[in-house]
Symmetry: C3
Subunit: 232 residues, 3 copies
């Protein structure tokens, strides 16, 4: 039902624009990693997968109904949003001497579960409220990890890094809070709610938000890491 | 077909009790990690995900038919049971100086494949026997890894740790053997079999068994680790 | 639709032969790891999962229609082909002192995305071309990683290892290029294409190709590692 609404809403040109910028950004990240040689290789790799995976999933909205078309956003987010918070965690722990595997796994696990609450909410027509609010609780947990333990790790490394990390973490926190807002207001994914966004507005919202959280964020992260590398 | 049978069987209050204890235990593990400060942070993290993931999946039995309702147990177990054996492996290798990534990956991989044989068995109406018995073979492999290499690693560390590890491994081995027994006897998931457990008894069995394997096990594991830390 | 065509094509005996050799090879790898004691334990573990996972998935073609029968190849490949390239990467980095987690994750991630393009291509009846060609681009990326950075890592270790690595990488590159060729020519998975292979020929192709890429490859890899261990 989601696919039909999206496909009929006339948002295809915007979705194509998203897909094309996603793949071009992926290639650009790989190219930039050759120029900015003080950016560790793991950053362009993670950002490459964030944008290309997302671009591939958006093909499901323009390419004819597929098995996952109604869930393409979630299949996108299940992989790409844990990678987005992984990139943040890698930025915070960039020069840290200890390993922080436990915290990084907790952060990515919370983010993954958050997306799964979205799938359950979309499906369970009767009473989506529980899964939706559990998801909001998990988002609060993600924000806590970003702003308390990971901020501390960045601050212990250097002031320069901490400043850049806080900029990135603030950027992602704001955009991630807009996702459930758009989800809640959409009549396509949550028809029982306020239903203020139609199919066209929903698909536009889910083109604009990820464009800033994936394509733009990738450049921003790599640029700030490169700057931090020069200054430290 | 599984969901309808469960939902109509009157087991909802028990399932709700399971979900609520799951989320409360998850929070309790995080709280305990502040009090028992000699328990490494990775233990409460793993146990938090075991119970909250399971609780989230059980929402699919009480929240109205969803895409995964008929498979909610398997989607639960695919994530939570590899984490349960991970917690055991982490207990055995708790103070080990070597890393044991290869053995831990083998243990978690076997456990994951075991759950997938359950999905195939439930689906393949004609002749589930092959997948079921392959699953039993994989369970024997999991038990072998727990009782031979990981027991040795625990014994090499200290007698105190080995004693506690063997208690936990015995506890999990017994409960894990009860799962396929309940599965085999259930008329909901395996109607061709003896069909001794109806929908109510099946859902009750799959509330009681995981309660001991997840909520109780989490407390037990963290308590024994904390004791071992004091004694070593 | 795929399952019905395969099941009616008379290829069941070949599929059974594949399943049986898969499980026997898995056991043989574990046995060989006791004899060839200079082969690190991670090699038999990875090859065990490659063949047993594949064998388990092929049960979906002979055991009666299941939820994943139409996608059983992809569910097989999503797990087994990233493990195949992992085995190659482990061979190249076998004695390397640095860790190469970033490159290994990139290699496995590309291979995983490649398989997902196959699922989208099979489903999107209207215009599969985009996903198929993106998949071919990802395959080129996999080949690049195998032949440039990983070849260099093997060459830095020793000439003996590099020679054996290049043999294995060439073997896998050739077979992996035959997969999309068979896929493209099959009338079952891609009816809009040239449709030169019927259901029987398709299932035979997808028995022969994986037999060489999984069972034979596992023995070859472990044998060459054991030889390299003797010579270095």
């Amino acid at each position: 039902m989601v696919y039909e609404a999206i496909a009929a809403s006339g948002s295809s040109p915007y979705i194509w624009a998203y897909i094309i910028t996603a793949f071009l950004s992926g290639l650009a990240f790989l190219y930039l990693s050759r120029i900015w040689d003080n950016v560790p290789r793991r950053f362009p790799i993670v950002h490459f997968f964030i944008v290309t995976w997302s671009g591939l999933m958006y093909l499901n909205f323009v390419e004819g109904q597929t098995l996952i078309s109604d869930y393409a956003w979630y299949v996108d987010w299940m992989i790409s949003t844990p990678l987005i918070v992984l990139a943040l965690a890698m930025t915070a722990t960039y020069k840290s001497e200890k390993n922080h595997y436990d915290l990084i796994a907790a952060l990515m696990g919370l983010q993954f579960m958050l997306i799964v609450t979205g799938i359950i909410s979309q499906e369970a027509a009767a009473s989506t409220a529980y899964a939706f609010w559990i998801g909001c609780g998990l988002l609060a947990g993600v924000a806590y990890l970003l702003w308390v333990p990971f901020r501390k790790i960045a601050e212990e490394t250097s002031d320069v890094l901490a400043k850049k990390y806080k900029l990135l973490a603030g950027y992602i926190t704001v955009f991630f809070a807009l996702y459930p807002a758009a989800w809640y207001l959409s009549e396509v994914v949550y028809p029982e709610g306020p239903a203020m966004l139609g199919a066209f507005e929903t698909s536009l919202a889910f083109v604009i938000l990820p464009f800033f959280c994936k394509q733009v964020y990738g450049f921003l992260d790599m640029y700030l890491i490169q700057k931090a590398g020069e200054e430290i």
